[in-house]
């Protein structure tokens, strides 16, 4: 059961991607605003693993170390580090941990940057070029990657960020935390 569960998810994710690719032609590929359609947040527990509306613009920032490194530079230049430090937080929440208030997929981070959030996150859509918002999103997404955390040397986090692998955001739904027994999603799906 344990090993089968992720494979099922992977299959679902691939279906999701395929669906999105076919859907991509109808979405804008650049510019602001980008709020056409609804991006499923994947924050809702459920068994359906509904197809995710993947923003096709995100694709270019996966497996792209240059984007992450540019994002790292911009993260400092736009004073993101003033609130979020080097991922550890302060005035704003940490970004290197495993808690995402508004979703942690690359496109969700981008959406947060564009729209802002009510407890103090400013809205940067239309103020910072969209390309740069994606690059910052890629760096933020990288902060919590195992590879980035493993590469930390010293007491300042996120200084050697890894590229964001495409499968880092492969799960389009909710998954039980590691080590969960009697996982109700698989039970409901009739798994062994």
């Amino acid at each position: 059961m344990c090993s089968r569960f992720p494979i099922e998810l992977l299959a679902l994710a691939l279906i999701g991607l395929a669906g999105c690719n076919s859907h991509a032609r109808t979405l804008p590929t650049s510019g602001q605003p980008a709020q056409e359609g609804v991006i499923d947040t994947a924050l809702t527990p459920g068994v359906g693993h509904s197809l995710t509306t993947v923003d096709p613009r995100a694709a270019a920032y996966y497996d792209n170390l240059e984007a992450v490194m540019t994002g790292k530079r911009l993260f400092g230049q736009y004073n993101c580090s003033g609130c979020h430090s080097n991922g550890g937080g302060g005035m704003g929440p940490p970004l290197m941990d495993d808690e995402w208030i508004y979703g942690g997929r690359l496109e969700q981070i981008h959406q947060t940057l564009v729209e802002g959030r009510p407890n103090g996150m400013p809205a940067w859509g239309g103020k910072i070029p969209d390309e740069q918002l994606w690059q910052i999103s890629a760096y933020v997404r990288s902060m919590s990657l195992p590879a980035t955390l493993a590469a930390q040397n010293g007491t300042t986090a996120s200084q050697s960020p890894a590229a964001v692998p495409r499968d880092a955001d492969g799960d389009n739904g909710w998954s039980a935390p590691p080590g969960t027994t009697n996982d109700y999603t698989t039970t409901l799906q009739g798994a062994q």
Binding site: D97, E99, S175
Partner: protein, 634 residues
């Protein structure tokens, strides 16, 4: 979990990590407390302490003037207790002999789990409390069993204000005067409530959160004026102190900290003690072009009204950005102490505590107004323990520094030059762009931060709650973007010499030396109160509320509360004529952000470098927010 199960679980965890958006390691990793700065890295008090005259204790007894500290009526109507800010309670029911029987008589949940820095205010038979954001106000009826709620008020500050609050969403308390409870809100309002009903009498919006301005300080009310200053020195704001009419909330005057004399309210009344503070429009000339407009100099700490001279005295905060290479010059009038005419706000004198500050040494700490023997005669002085590590004795009539001695480890400066009033810079600890300077003492939050000291006329000692921390600092270029942090520094704090991160020091201002000291594991971020029973009360960040002997520091009583304490304890006489001690628990603030955060301890630069020094605090306490009131059994 048995060992054999581990590989399987790990495989599963890795697979899930690759699949999920939320699996990025855990925050449970143990991050060690860094090694302390070696003792030989700092100067001794003998090397850097200076005074204009030798101690002359025979010239008189140190005490506040009656005008600044009228006879104690048993209430606690303002955070500082009186204009002198002695925080001395003349109540004598509690003594060094009986305090061991002290016990809680009632508690009250504040319903806010953020840093609680306010003093409970007692006026008549009612206690008033304001919480951290969202700044709830509670009035408790002390005449009834259990002190039930009399009324409550929710000011509903704008949630986005949380995003421009530099160091937790704290509030340093309201104050009572003439039937009104007056406090400010994080989003920039000053509000006067009818103390009997909790209904707003007036609301004045003074701060603009879009520019990074918040309000967190405790307003001062004196002779019909309400004094409020802004917070946001890390956001590139233009700092100010405002005077409002107490009855209407109408703005009477606003004195900016930087800019032309017309905005700073410098004119013919200005007679600074030092030549370096004289000249036209120095609040512009000592900055690169236009930088004064975003230069900080906020007024978020303590404001005193000095009845002896009919003046308002307060400190200004650090200049911005922290990267000092971007602002060559003195950066007037940041990081110093102003004396002003309350009628029109016009400046009278200015003491330059940290001109061209390079270490985030705000000048906003408390000031205690005393009459003290110095140089063979009694002088009217102001005593100010600064972030920079020196405790200043300043003559109130002139603004001249009489003495300045280190009360904690210092190496960022080599003493205060009493001819200019300025620190003697230690070039080895100046901050630089792109170069990490190690073991600068004190740290950015100072030898002490906002947490107020108390003074007992019985012992002649000042009870200073403080820190013992140093730091590594690297400046970096930073651009100004409105409403975002304007800092430009990467800081990593660490324990100071000895490893204890905090201490309570009883300081003898006449002899210019400590009488005794109690070391604490964590920074002492609570205020102190001292009573006529020779008891000093203070709280620790790991949740102990303590009473020590005011004459020798001996621990006489302690009580474990639900969360760390960073508030201001008070002592009052209840309606039943018994003595009570009250304090808020609720850890947070800059030093407690690691608990009230959330913050990830794996990034030592988090919360402006404070996290590096405090990774272990979550092992000792959790966030909370509760009023505790203690008394002897009766």
């Amino acid at each position: 979990m048995n060992k054999n199960a581990l590989p399987i679980l790990r495989t599963r965890a890795l697979l899930l990590c690759a699949m999920t958006v939320m699996c990025a390691g855990t925050r449970a990793q143990t991050v060690p407390v860094p090694a302390p700065t070696p003792a030989e890295d700092v100067f001794s008090a003998e090397q850097i302490g200076h005074a204009l005259a030798q101690p002359t204790p025979e010239a008189g007894k140190t005490a506040p003037s009656p005008a600044n500290a009228p006879p104690d009526d048993g209430q606690w109507t303002m955070p500082t207790k009186n204009f002198a800010a002695t925080r001395f309670s003349s109540l004598t029911e509690l003594t060094t002999d009986n305090v061991k029987a002290l016990q809680p008589v009632f508690t009250f949940s504040l319903a806010v789990n953020k840093g609680q820095e306010a003093a409970p205010i007692v006026a008549g038979n009612t206690m008033y409390i304001v919480t951290a954001y969202p700044n709830y106000v509670y009035a408790l009826d002390l005449t009834r069993e259990g002190a039930p709620l009399k009324w409550r008020f929710a000011p509903k500050p704008v949630p986005a204000s949380q995003g421009v609050a530099c160091c937790d969403v704290v509030n340093r308390g309201g104050t009572y005067d003439s039937g009104k409870y007056i406090f400010d809100t994080l989003d920039g309002q000053v509000i006067a409530l009818d103390a009997d009903t909790g209904k707003p009498l007036w609301r004045t919006l003074l701060g603009n959160i879009n520019a990074g301005e918040t309000l967190t300080m405790a307003p001062l009310v004196a002779k019909g004026h309400v004094y409020v200053g802004d917070s946001g020195g890390e956001m590139g704001v233009h700092g100010w102190l405002a005077a409002l009419d107490e009855s209407s909330g109408k703005l009477l005057w606003k004195a900016y900290t930087t800019g032309p004399d017309s905005q700073v309210l410098i004119g013919s009344q200005f007679r600074p003690a030092y030549a370096g503070e004289q000249g036209k429009d120095l609040g512009v000339a000592t900055w690169p072009a236009q930088s004064w407009k975003i230069g900080g100099g906020t007024v978020w700490g303590w404001v005193n009204y000095d009845a002896d001279f009919d003046s308002v005295v307060y400190g200004t905060a650090n200049p911005g950005p922290w990267n000092a290479e971007q602002r060559p010059g003195d950066n007037k009038w940041t990081a110093g102490i102003f004396s002003r005419d309350p009628a029109n706000g016009q400046a009278r004198w200015f003491v330059p505590l940290n001109p061209h500050d390079e270490h985030d040494y705000d000048g906003v700490n408390e000031q205690i107004l005393l009459d003290m023997p110095f140089g063979g005669q009694m002088r009217k002085v102001l005593i100010h323990p600064d972030r920079n590590g020196y405790i200043y004795v300043i003559e109130r009539s002139t603004g001249r520094v009489l003495s300045a001695d280190p009360f904690g480890p210092v190496n960022s400066t080599r003493g205060i030059d009493l001819k200019t009033g300025r620190p003697i810079v230690n070039p080895a600890k100046q901050t630089r762009v792109g170069q990490e300077v190690h073991d600068i003492c004190p740290t950015a939050s100072g030898s002490k931060d906002w947490e107020p000291s108390s003074f007992s006329p019985q012992t002649g000692l000042i009870y200073i709650p403080h820190e013992n921390m140093c730091m590594d600092w690297m400046s970096m270029p930073v651009g100004y973007i409105e409403g975002t942090p304007y800092v430009g520094a990467r800081v990593h704090m660490k324990p100071g010499p000895g490893g204890n991160r905090g201490a309570l020091t009883a300081w003898d201002p006449v002899q210019r030396r400590p009488a005794w000291q109690v070391k604490e594991t964590f920074p002492v971020w609570s205020g102190t109160v001292v009573t006529a029973g020779d008891l000093v009360f203070y709280g620790t960040m790991d949740g102990w509320f303590k009473a020590v002997n005011a004459r020798n520091g001996d621990l006489l009583w302690k009580y474990k509360v639900d969360s760390g304490i960073i508030g201001q304890p008070v002592s009052y006489r209840g309606p039943d004529q018994h003595q009570y001690i009250a304090v808020l628990s609720g850890v947070g603030g800059w030093s407690g952000a690691v608990v009230s955060g959330p913050v990830d301890t794996r990034d030592g630069s988090a919360a402006l470098g404070m996290i590096n020094a405090m990774p272990d605090l979550p092992k000792y306490t959790t966030a909370g927010g509760t009023l505790y009131v203690f008394a002897l059994p009766h």
